[in-house]
Amino acid sequence: MAALINAPAKAKRGEIIEIRTLTSHIMETGFRHTADGKLVPRDIITSFTCRYNGAEIFRADLFPAIAANPYLSFFTVAKESGKFEFEWIGDNGYSSTASASIIVE
């Protein structure tokens, strides 16, 4: 699954930077019915984690109230050059990852 990551490629040491992520997922709520009355089974992303050089800096527990194609924006302090790793985990064994690099001067 494709994910869009928007994180600065370069930052000054100590700078507060914004990271924005968007991933494609239906986020089926489990509360909808088909026209003939059958309940559509729930299929959502339940957890999102961002790690910065291995250390967790942001985590979110998601519920059916999160819109389809979950968008998340959060902040972190640019401490050192390295890598951001993103992980989405969901129902039915869903798992997806992405990463982004940053150079801190």
């Binding site: 507060i16 930077i17 924005r20 709520t29 509360f31 909808r32 019915h33 088909t34 026209a35 559509v40 910065y52 250390a55 967790e56 800096i57 942001f58 985590r59 979110a60 527990d61 998601l62 519920f63 059916p64 109230a65 999160i66 819109a67 389809a68 979950p70 968008y71 998340l72 924006s73 959060f74 902040f75 972190t76 302090v77 401490k79």
Partner: protein
């Protein structure tokens, strides 16, 4: 045979009873303010919840409840000994009262989270922040939704 008053009343009664049945099945599944309170207590426990520090940016009127932009920010220096641990967002009338839990830390730099949510009806949205000293701060916002999300039929 002339219709007696008794026959007429029993007939009228059965018609009313039959007419009432379909209404029950159409009521949508919905959380209640009591479920909202319970969901909040599950997170907060017995702690006191104060008003302030938290800011919830959400449009007061949305046309489409399927994707409502929302930003929660908390006034906090985000230092090693004074920071926001978690931000919890709840709703009053979706089928389930939880929207999301966002876990931050001193390295977040700024206590602010944005996402897009679904709202099944016009309702209240509540954001609660847990600070590093385990105090809880909340803010609530009312949102009017023209087109509801979540419970519509799919084809």
């Amino acid at each position: 045979m002339p219709t007696t008053r008794r026959q007429f009343l029993s007939l009228a009664g059965s018609v009313t009873a039959a007419g009432a049945i379909p209404i029950i099945a159409l009521r949508p599944l919905e959380a209640t303010p009591a479920m909202l309170t319970t969901a909040i207590r599950n997170i907060v426990g017995e702690a006191q919840i104060r008003t302030g520090k938290v800011k919830l940016d959400i449009p007061p009127l949305v046309e489409n409840g399927n994707t409502v932009p929302m930003t929660v920010s908390v006034a906090s220096p985000m230092t090693a000994d004074d920071y926001v641990k978690t931000i919890h967002v709840f709703n009053e009338k979706n089928p389930q009262p939880n929207i999301g839990n966002f876990h931050l830390g001193p390295s977040s730099g700024r206590a602010q989270v944005s996402t897009r949510i679904r709202l099944a009806d016009s309702q209240k949205v509540v954001a609660i922040a847990r600070l590093s000293d385990d105090t809880f701060w909340q803010v609530a916002a009312d949102v009017v939704v023209t087109l509801a999300a979540c419970t519509e039929e799919i084809n």
